[in-house]
């Protein structure tokens, strides 16, 4: 890291250490002009920004004005005290995982995966589950240690729970990609509630993934873990094994 960095008061770096420069863009539903510019400036100033420069403002039709702004934050953040909620697991190789599972559990781990509710995006889940995997990292189906049931897309939560029971699943993997109007929150909550109601929640490892999913959100919704954008299958595999072995 660069010299003279005050990690207790970390600030954005634009052109100089600690200058705090941030770029913003947004639209106000008022006609372009001096008054709109002033409104934009005041708004941004009211948000702990100083040196607000409206570098672009443009009429984008129907009395909308688009702004590009550069400004400096007056805030900083204590980087030293940050403890991330990220799932942190030692990354293990495929053989290591297989061996560990058979050594400690003496059987395959049963995994059921699906994208639930109205969500039809399967590419993300498939990247984790299918043999082929993701960016050269093999999917869970390739591991001897796992027995994978990929139920595909748009599976109603109740259906997923039924299947999990049927297959005696150890792990439920759900994918949620569409997040508009928080539909993912609704669907994930529904699944968690059904598992609770059916007294299955404590018997499964419940994991969610998707590009807008964070571990923090997952925990908040009562899941064991959450995986975001760019997740590798091996990370998920390592996490599952780590947890399953701990539970057993």
């Amino acid at each position: 890291m660069i010299n003279n960095l005050d990690l207790e008061h970390l600030r954005p770096y634009g052109d100089q250490l600690n200058d705090g420069v941030i770029q913003l863009s947004f639209t106000l539903p008022v006609p372009a002009g001096a008054k709109a510019r002033e409104a934009a400036k005041r708004l941004i100033e009211s948000m702990n920004f100083s040196d607000v420069q409206i570098v672009h403002s443009e009429d984008i039709g129907e009395d909308f004005t688009f702004f590009v702004v550069y400004a400096k934050t007056t805030r900083d953040v204590n980087y030293k005290e940050i403890k991330t909620l990220e799932v942190e697991v030692p990354k293990m190789g495929m053989e290591e995982i297989n061996e560990k599972v058979f050594k400690y559990l003496k059987r395959q781990i049963v995994i059921v995966g699906a994208t639930i509710g109205s969500d039809a995006h399967t590419v993300g889940l498939d990247s984790i589950l299918n043999m082929k995997g993701y960016h050269g990292d093999s999917g869970l189906e390739r591991y001897r240690a796992f027995k994978v049931y990929n139920l595909g897309s748009q599976v109603p939560p109740i259906e997923l729970v039924k299947k999990a029971r049927e297959y005696n699943a150890d792990v439920i993997l759900v994918s949620q990609v569409v997040t508009q109007r928080d539909i993912h929150i609704k669907q994930l909550t529904e699944l968690a509630d059904i598992l609770d109601a059916e007294k299955l929640r404590d018997r499964v490892l419940l994991v969610v993934g998707g590009p807008r999913i964070t571990h923090e959100l997952a925990v908040e919704l009562g899941y064991d873990a959450g995986f975001g954008s760019g997740t590798m299958p091996s990370e998920v595999a390592s996490y599952i094994v780590e947890k399953m072995v701990k539970i057993s």
Binding site: G61, V123, Q154, I183
Partner: protein
């Protein structure tokens, strides 16, 4: 810039596609579906919902279905009911909706009178559609057809009134086509929701009222900007032909409509989709509605370079199905897309080659070119650069319908500013490189030429195989989009039935006659 294609190879490809679809058409001709019958009901004037919120077209068709009479076609039952009860179809349907009677329980009326009623209802429907169509054709002529590539943007707020606000802004900025994206999974609903709606996810419900609201908004702004503004929606899913019907009634200009998309990407039953797409396309062809086929989807789940020939194959199949529905090529928005991983060396050359192939194979069509989506990331700046090259390929290769890429593709449905930025990018590139494509030539036997020829050859091989096993079996094999679907699987299979000996559908027959495809 001219692509040299082996003319014989092109002919062979077309011939094979024709043969493949001829086989499927035989199946289609024998069958109808719940949705086809609801389509007839709608065009006969049935609209609205019953006290439980069920759409009346569903109510009447279900009534007849439960009563075991659907093999005869809903047209007969409606006409018979109208004659018996001296009601118009709407009055009749409302009564059924109130459970006053069942259509199958109404005693058969004088056959001559019923036939006459059917013909009369069909003629009225045809007339209605023609009126709308002629009005639009006239508006298009008066206001002027914008320069191609048409700038096509989506609105997808979930709330039709917000959609209107954003659509109007987009038109002011230069949009030529507004597509109202549907709410997630509407395609799986076996009915069309009713009335204006304000709550959708990832899109806004396609309803007749929503169509009307948007149509009026666009017709209001079109004269102000001095150009015709097209409106698009989706005729896909379980209500494919019905959506075409309400689009025809409300004067939409375009519909996403693919002969296989629903099978592959929505797991809708094969037979259901094939039968539905036929009626749906008849209506489009008759209403001068441009269809947008969905080949872009294939290369969202399979590799855009290795599987490029599946796009070509599907385009040829879509073309043949459209021809069978009597569609003028100019209403064929043959789909393709700019989806190659931006990190591929010379990816740009592949894109040029593939885009030119589509343009060259379908000289009379109005190809619809789709933007990068799967390799868009949260880096909106990078995304903006990808869209810039996409825009360039489009203007270079003379595409017709140009769906704009959004810099926030990987993040959310477009914000008002995202759409603005997309439009200004396209306008910049289209103007700045207006004649670039005609000022350059492709190197003889160079990479671009060879790649296109290769894709075409692969498509021919694939079509040969498809012809051998049949289209349905080929789909089972996972030929398209790396997805496999079984013939007997999929949603909506219970809504397909073999027409009875006494089946009648004078409305569809009349359209077939007028389109010159009477079979």
């Amino acid at each position: 810039m001219r692509l040299e294609l082996d003319g014989e190879m092109v002919e062979r490809a077309r011939k094979l596609a024709k043969e493949v679809t001829d086989e499927v058409q035989k199946f289609i001709d024998l069958r109808s579906t719940d949705s086809v019958e609801r389509t007839v009901s709608r065009l006969f004037g049935i609209d609205g919902v019953n006290s439980e919120g069920a759409p009346l077209p569903n109510v009447v068709v279900d009534d007849v279905k439960i009563g075991g009479g659907l093999k005869r076609g809903i047209a007969y039952w409606i006409a018979n009911g109208c004659v018996a009860k001296n009601l118009d179809p709407q009055g009749l349907a409302e009564a059924v909706g109130r459970k006053e009677f069942s259509l199958v329980k109404i005693p058969p009326q004088n056959e001559g009178l019923v036939d006459q009623k059917m013909d009369e209802l069909a003629a009225k429907a045809i007339e209605k559609i023609e009126d709308v169509r002629n009005k639009r054709d006239k508006m298009l002529e008066e206001l002027g057809d914008p320069k191609k590539p048409y700038i096509y943007v989506i609105v997808a707020t979930g709330n039709i009134y917000e959609d209107v606000v954003q659509a109007r802004a987009a038109v002011r900025e230069g949009a030529d086509i507004i597509a109202v994206i549907r709410s997630t999974a509407q395609s799986l609903l076996d009915f069309i929701p009713y009335g204006p709606t304000t709550e959708g996810y990832g899109g806004t419900y396609a309803t007749q009222a929503n169509f009307k609201i948007m149509r009026e908004a666009l017709d209001d702004i079109a004269p102000k900007v001095g150009r015709y503004v097209r409106l698009t929606n989706y005729a896909s899913g379980l209500c494919m032909p019905e959506i075409s019907a309400i689009a025809a009634l409300e004067g939409l200009d375009m519909l996403l409509n693919d002969s296989m998309y629903g099978i592959l990407f929505r797991n809708i039953n094969m037979m259901r989709t094939f039968v539905d797409q036929y009626t749906s396309r008849l209506i489009c062809a008759f209403s001068h509605i441009t269809i947008n086929t969905g080949e872009d989807n294939y290369i969202k789940t399979s590799d855009p370079i290795e599987r490029a020939h599946t796009v070509t194959t599907s385009q040829l199949i879509n073309e043949q199905f459209a021809i069978k529905a009597g569609m003028d090529p100019k209403y064929m928005g043959i789909g393709h897309a700019f989806e190659i991983d931006p990190d591929v060396e010379n990816g740009f050359l592949y894109e040029v080659s593939h885009a030119l192939l589509t343009r060259t194979l379908f000289p009379y069509a109005t190809p619809k070119y789709m933007p990068p989506t799967r390799y868009m990331t949260g880096n909106i700046f990078k995304g903006y650069a990808q869209n810039t090259l996409y825009n360039l390929v489009s203007i270079m290769t003379d595409q017709s319908i140009h769906l704009l890429g959004m810099l926030t593709e990987a993040i959310h449905t477009p914000l008002v500013q995202d759409r603005y930025l997309a439009i200004s990018n396209a306008k910049y590139v289209f103007n700045n490189a207006a004649n670039f494509g005609s000022e350059i030539e492709l190197k003889k036997d160079g990479f671009i030429q060879r790649e296109a020829q290769k894709v075409l050859e692969n498509a021919v091989s694939l079509l040969e195989h498809v012809k051998e096993v049949g289209l349905m079996a080929a789909i089972e094999e996972g030929t398209f989009g790396d997805i496999s679907r079984r013939m007997d699987e999929g949603k909506g299979s219970d809504g397909v039935f073999v027409k009875g000996e006494d089946y009648s559908n004078p409305l569809i027959e009349e359209m077939e006659r007028l389109l010159g495809v009477r079979r």
